[in-house]
């Protein structure tokens, strides 16, 4: 049966539960109980009842609220064993790294939304860094799991309206959801790119249609149109939509690395492929095995080249139609995007597009257990060595 001391300890634990690391709460409550039991025993020696002895012991010890408050006031201004300034510096460096240093130039989160997920994830890391810094400064060495959980859930929820407001996407009912869009704050800059990309897609479709037609009947090289044997000419047409050239070099989510080459004219491109450095530089233009893809900012993955007519014919017969379908779909998506941009310019505020905001929501929720594990590890690092002996 629980006595007054047990109830006191329970109250003290409840007050400190979300404020101090679990190991420290254990130490505090064990020590308080030890004190109260010993104090009670001293009172019993003078012949009072157990209830009376416990009441006196508890009164001398002070109310749980007073004791808990003193612990909070006397806790050192540290978080997980480090001074706040080191957390601030370290987490800021991580956030800036995640942002690919774009944040400093305001060209990351505020830029086109082709990198939206990356930027938003980096944004949350940055927000978490600031949040940790504030908590560390205000509350000292504490377990922050309640606030970490609440703020992460809040950030995930809040990301839906923010995303829906910030990004102008393509439509939900499109077969292969278009995961790009135009930043509401860069409409005037991106709209011309959008228009040029539509021309780009149209040009690529022209080549694709020509190739499908010619290679369906051609038995020799001379039977196909000259454009299909002139990669440089194809590149020239596709450059319509590109005012910069970029290579998706490598990357492990979420730290994509992107290399930008600003002056297209100075880049020696492999023939017929606007975005692949691995193209062998063959004579015949062929559709890509993995399909066509065009992005809002002008990057294109449309054609490759091969050396022999036989291979070219096989590639066109095998992948011509699928690439044609891809380009038609992209054409539709870009047109939907254009109409949405037009709606935004006329005053529409929100574009709720699950394929966009759900990625951010899941990524944020994915971070929650990581934050909690870090918090837990931080609590363990504060575990007093003596406590293990009690457990043993």
């Amino acid at each position: 049966m629980r006595d007054s001391v047990d109830r006191y300890i329970q109250d003290l634990r409840a007050l400190l539960h979300f404020e101090l690391p679990e190991a420290k709460v254990d130490t505090v409550t064990l020590e308080a109980e030890s004190h109260l039991r010993e104090s009670t025993a001293k009172q019993l020696e003078v012949g009072v009842t157990l209830d009376a002895a416990q009441t006196v012991a508890i009164k001398s010890f002070g109310s749980p609220q007073r004791v808990a408050l003193t612990y909070l006031q006397r806790t050192r201004r540290k978080l997980w064993g480090l001074a706040p300034v080191w957390w601030a510096i370290t987490s800021s460096l991580v956030a800036i790294f995640c942002w690919n240093f774009h944040w400093l130039t305001l060209s990351g989160y505020f830029d086109r939304f082709g990198e939206f997920d990356k930027n938003l994830e980096a944004g949350f890391v940055g927000i978490f860094a600031v949040y940790v810094m504030v908590l560390a400064a205000r509350r000292g060495l504490r377990s922050n799991r309640l606030w970490i959980t609440l703020s992460t859930l809040g950030a995930a929820t809040l990301s839906i309206p923010i995303t829906a407001y910030w990004m102008i996407p393509a439509k939900q009912d499109i077969r292969r959801p278009f995961e790009e869009g135009v930043s509401r704050f860069h409409i005037d800059r991106d709209l011309p790119k959008l228009e040029r990309n539509l021309q780009n897609i149209s040009a690529a479709l022209g080549v694709i249609n020509q190739g499908i037609h010619d290679y369906s009947t051609a038995s020799q090289e001379s039977a196909v149109a000259s454009i299909l044997k002139d990669p440089d000419e194809v590149v020239k047409r596709l450059r319509l939509g590109s005012d910069r050239f970029s290579i998706l070099q490598s990357g492990i989510w979420p730290f994509y690395h992107q290399e930008l080459v600003p002056d297209l004219s100075k880049v020696k491109l492999p023939p017929a492929n606007v975005a692949m450095t691995t193209d062998p530089g063959g004579k015949f233009v062929v559709p890509r095995e993995s399909g066509s893809f065009v992005m809002v900012d002008g990057r294109c993955w449309v054609f490759e080249t091969v050396d022999s007519f036989t291979t070219a014919k096989m590639m066109w017969q095998k992948y011509g139609k699928t690439n044609q379908a891809d380009l038609e779909e992209l054409d539709r998506q870009f047109k939907v995007l254009r109409s949405h941009v037009s709606e935004a310019k006329q005053g529409r505020l929100f574009f709720f597009e699950p394929t966009l905001y759900m990625g951010t929501v899941f990524a944020t929720l994915f971070l929650l257990p990581i934050f909690l594990i870090v918090d837990w590890i931080g609590s363990l690092s504060g575990r007093p060595r003596g406590r293990r002996k009690v457990i043993a």
Partner: protein, 107 residues
């Protein structure tokens, strides 16, 4: 009369001759009569703060025949800190004494 940090100085002082468990440290400070309105339970956070600062170490003793006790012991840094606190207190007491003592003498 009190100055900021005196509870920590008192706690260090109680440990200068021997290691003590929390209950005994608290009892001695309370019995000194200079702890003011601070309750017994409010003294422990000061002990924990001294531990975090490296001035004392604490170790649980389970072979007491009663409830486990957390025994505090001065570290070399704690000994040095205690000496510093003593010196501070001497200067403080001398300063106060030079004024209050004079006034008392005139009265």
């Amino acid at each position: 009369m009190a100055f900021r940090g005196d509870i920590k100085a008192l706690a260090l002082g109680t440990l200068q001759s021997e290691p003590l468990h929390g209950y005994e440290v608290v009892r001695r400070i309370r019995e000194s009569g200079v702890a003011g309105k601070i309750s017994e339970g409010q003294i422990y956070p000061y002990l924990h703060e001294l531990e975090e600062e490296g001035f004392v170490t604490a170790e649980w003793k389970t072979d007491t025949g009663a409830a486990p006790r957390r025994v505090y012991r001065l570290t070399p840094a704690g000994v040095a800190e205690l000496a510093r606190q003593k010196e501070t207190w001497k200067r403080f007491a001398l300063g106060i004494g030079s004024i209050l003592g004079g006034e008392v003498g005139h009265a």
